[in-house]
Amino acid sequence: MKVRALLTECAVLSLALVAGAHAQTGSAAKGQMIFESRCVACHSLDANRVGPALGTVVGRVAGKAPDYFYSQALSAATHVWGRDKLLAWLTNPESVVPGQAMGYRVELPEDRQDVVAYLASLSKKPAAN
């Protein structure tokens, strides 16, 4: 009985750890699915379309994707796209760069985590912040 209770406790603890880890880092696989169903309207990984290419966005200076014509506001941005900046951007782009052109937001925090995890998995540069 004690063993069963201990195993149950361990299982619950493991689930909590997994959930906690997801909350911190997200799932790249889920992020890819979200990217391919929502972001792909405007973005590709390796080509500028309505929006800039995002395959190397992590670690890139904002507003500086080669050969993409940015809004004036984003052209003037100087921050580097790290995990926290991308999460903030997907939450509300206007709060990160007022006057930017993207009206789309990712509503759920876990979806944002997943998308950022996916983008980070594509980049060789770390998504530290």
């Binding site: 391919e36 405007c42 080509a47 500028n48 379309r49 309505v50 052109a101 009206g103 937001r105």
Partner: protein
């Protein structure tokens, strides 16, 4: 694939001269509906006006791309009738969206984003990788699904409820396109309700 499309779109949907004329009339109606009361709308939008125009311009960029994607598909020689007719019909819908968006942006005092060259779209969409009709339909379906989610996703960002409604109407058209395309590809229905715009 062919029979599914035929079942879905013939004879009521595929363009005939009469249907084409009907759609031309619809275009005018759509444009008029989008513009109805826009003067009052513009006066009431204040600081949201520039943001709304910005969102509409992103939408216009999507429509430019969709028009050119269908042009690439139609010109590829990979589409056979009646699929080709359906692609041309969907392209006409996107042209109607484009024209209505341009009129609305101009009415609001904005500058509509310009269409790029067909070659630019071909490069960005990797048109050179399309090998058969299924590839073309898959590309179209992916773009339509993205557009559905984009239009639904920007609805909360509009300062104007009228423009939010327009985004909903555009999303409805794209959903019709996506549904027919996925059916033609032999793909299943979405696994559950509320799968779009999540």
């Amino acid at each position: 694939m062919k029979s599914v499309v035929q079942t879905l779109v013939s004879p009521n949907v595929i363009a005939s001269r009469r249907a084409f004329m009907g759609r031309t009339g619809t275009l005018s109606a759509v444009a008029v509906a989008m513009l109805a009361g826009k003067d009052a709308l513009a006066q009431g939008m204040g600081g949201d006006m520039a943001k709304d125009v910005s969102i509409l311009n992103v939408a216009l960029g999507l429509e430019h791309e969709a028009i050119n994607a269908y042009q690439l598909g139609a010109g590829s020689g990979l589409l056979q009738k009646p699929v080709l007719d359906v692609a041309v019909r969907f392209q006409a819908d996107h042209k109607a969206h484009r024209d209505a968006l341009i009129a609305t942006i101009q009415k609001m005092g904005g500058a509509p984003v310009m269409e790029k060259k067909l070659d630019d779209y071909a490069k960005a969409l990797k048109a050179d990788t399309l090998r058969n009709q299924g590839d073309v339909l898959d590309l179209a379906a992916r773009l339509e699904l993205g557009a559905i989610n984009a239009y639904l996703g920007v609805i909360p960002a509009f300062g104007s409820k009228d423009l939010a409604k327009v985004a909903g109407r555009l999303a409805a058209d794209e959903t019709m396109h996506y549904t027919i395309l996925t059916n033609a590809l032999g793909r299943p229905l979405p696994s559950g309700a509320l799968s779009f715009g999540a």
